[in-house]
């Protein structure tokens, strides 16, 4: 190698090394002290753009006030007939309720440090209220929240909070239980199928609620759980749906971000379907039984209002807020056209019982798959106990890794 080439290589190597070091350093957060809004963190380097409202000092404005925009980040596409669609509808309600507030949205934000960059950009653009809507956005959001104590964060589904970060979720297992009741009544083969992604507590909780609901009206019913490993992989979903139906399942449901493939496959093969996250009944006119959905619009509007009025600290939203069936945060969709009236009536009665507090999906005795009693007779578990579930109830066919 000639001397000149050696120099060129050395220069290139140094450049790469330097840029790696610089990007690594700036990722740590530029250590913004209290009061200075725009830290211009992330790898984009400090924007010298005036960040408008977000430069409010912590001393004057309460958390969440003073911004000109509210930001929403989604992990997937807004029209996935599922998780992100539900959140998107909530963001539309905020847009309508607060016409002076600009609504910033970014879809397909991965659950990595990339989410931090997106949130920082939104704060730069004037957002003092951020809604990170995916479970895996929690850690990036906590990092950004630490750097911006004057910005209010409302995270969906998280189990950790901070001074300026509150999490919200709903007791979705209540409508899932009711959907299980309907499925248990309508199944002819006594085999239900549940297509899920990974064995996290929220998923296991839903499966257990579904099985408990079905079992309460049909003692012989079983729920077969299939893990696909992904929140939205249509190929695997189709594989799983076909495989379950081949094995005799006649009611399919899922805990996935996108629900279109499973529902359509069930419809094509003549199986019944139960929805989740969003109403997909238009995709399954014959086989749709019912679905469990989120009702985010009212909640989002209330949370935004609380933050804008400076009442975030000490409100019910600055910790772990859990909406329920009773207050309308989680709902059942309409029934499909082939659901008989007696099933509708039964579900309606049980729904009222849950709202009145007379019926709890997990009131003891609750037994695990191997028969061990986990909630004794008469015991009603707390929400924390439910949200840290790591076992299946009896009647569920499936394995959780230890």
């Amino acid at each position: 190698m000639t001397k000149a080439k050696r120099w060129v290589f050395a220069a290139l190597a140094m450049t790469f090394l330097l840029s790696f070091l610089l990007s690594a350093c700036s990722q740590q957060g530029s250590g913004s002290t209290s009061g200075s809004g725009s830290s211009g963190g992330g790898t984009s380097g400090g924007d010298s753009a005036d960040s408008g409202g977000s430069s409010g000092e912590a001393s004057s404005g309460a958390v969440g006030t003073g911004g000109s925009a509210v930001g929403f980040i989604f992990v997937g596409a807004r029209d996935d007939y599922g998780y992100n669609q539900a959140a998107y509808i909530g963001s539309q309600a905020v847009e309508e309720a607060f016409p002076d507030l600009k609504v910033l949205r970014v879809e397909n934000v991965p659950e990595t440090a990339e989410a931090e960059r997106v949130m920082e950009q939104m704060i730069n653009d004037g957002a003092n209220i951020i809604f990170p809507t995916s479970y895996g956005h929690l850690d990036p959001a906590l990092n950004v929240a630490a750097r911006h104590p004057d910005v209010a964060f409302f995270h969906q589904g998280g189990l950790k909070t901070a001074e300026n970060l509150g999490t919200y979720f709903g007791t979705i297992w209540e409508p899932v239980y009711l959907a299980g009741v309907a499925a248990g009544k309508m199944t002819k083969t006594n085999k239900l199928g549940y297509i899920v992604s990974v064995p996290i507590p929220q998923v296991l909780l839903n499966v257990n609620a579904f099985q408990r609901g079905a079992q309460s009206v049909n003692p012989d019913v079983t729920t077969t759980v299939v893990f696909t490993g992904s929140w939205c992989d249509p190929g695997q979903q189709a594989n799983a749906a076909n495989s379950l139906i081949d094995g005799g399942v006649d009611v399919l449901t899922q805990h996935q971000d996108c629900t279109k493939t499973v529902i359509e496959t069930a419809e094509r093969r003549g199986a019944m379907s139960v929805g989740y996250h969003a109403d997909a009944s238009s995709l399954a006119p014959e086989g749709w039984i019912v679905g469990s959905v989120w009702n985010w619009p009212d909640l989002f509007v209330n949370m935004t209002k609380t933050a804008l009025e400076g009442r975030f600290d000490g409100s019910m939203y600055d910790g772990k807020y859990r909406g329920t069936l009773a207050d309308g945060t989680v709902m059942l969709t309409d029934f499909g056209k082939n659901v008989p009236d007696d099933v509708k009536a039964l579900v309606g009665e049980m729904k009222q019982a849950i709202i009145d507090g007379a019926l709890h999906p997990f009131a003891g005795p609750v037994k695990k798959q191997d028969g061990e009693v986990v909630f004794a007779e008469g015991v009603i578990p707390t929400i924390d106990e439910l949200e840290s579930m790591d076992w299946f109830v009896e009647g569920v066919i499936g394995t959780i890794p230890k």
Partner: protein
Amino acid sequence: MIADILTGAVRSGTSVLFAVQGELVSERAGVINLGTEGAMLAGALAGFATTVWTGSPWLGALAGGTGGMLIALLHAFLVISRGANQLATGLTLMFLGMGLTAFFGRKFVSESIVGFNPTPIPLLSDIPFIGNVLFNHDPLTYVSFALVPLIWFALFRTRLGVIIRASGEREDALFASGMNPKLVRYGAVLAGGFLAGLGGAQLSIAYTHSWVENMTAGRGIVAVALVIFAAWKPLRAAVGAWLFGAAQALQLTVQQQGYPISPYFLFMAPYLITLIALLAVEFRKKSRMPEALGKVFTGSPGGAG
């Protein structure tokens, strides 16, 4: 249970089968295309979009093949006409395909189509065991069945096949006999891209009736690996594709039976099986790799190459 696994193998393996056959042709001619994943995605999106716009799944399949062909055209140009490194170019095109399809496919995520549906072949699908396994699938799967012997025949029993294989084994000899290896390679790479696009289209139009970004989930890369596993032979490549599909189906059946195997291990299983198959190949004494695979042909007219 065996019948279910085999049925799942064919269902799941068809999209990989198309890509594998396409990559086989391309590598026999001497060009390795790691951008097969990008071509499959392009085919999946192009096929889905065309079916949405025209309502005809066959037009969609054709468009899917064309989409894959366009990605392959880029690869062919860079690698054959410009002499770029084949592996690097292929990988780049894979990412290009992933990005382009995610961007342009954005508005198709919630669309519904009338795609291909499983159509049982009248008498054959009633045969007890294999009837359901082989004869109860969508039309594109039947096309894939016909494709395997077709590719075998074309490669090993026709003059065209000799030319393609010569361009992959000894391109100087081909050049000396008056043909242009570059042109042959272009044709092979484009054919490979078309088939990969068709595989992607099968996934979106026939199997899932959906479009989601990155929906091929690595099938294109597995296809390239399977070609090596199959020692560049069409029938073995088909078996490899179905083996991969079987591993995916097995993963699901095992879960349904309730066997206490961790789902995380099962997610890994199809790719693990592909890796083991590759390792098994390495222990063969004689390598059957086309000799000129990956090399750049630099022969100039009238020169000695």
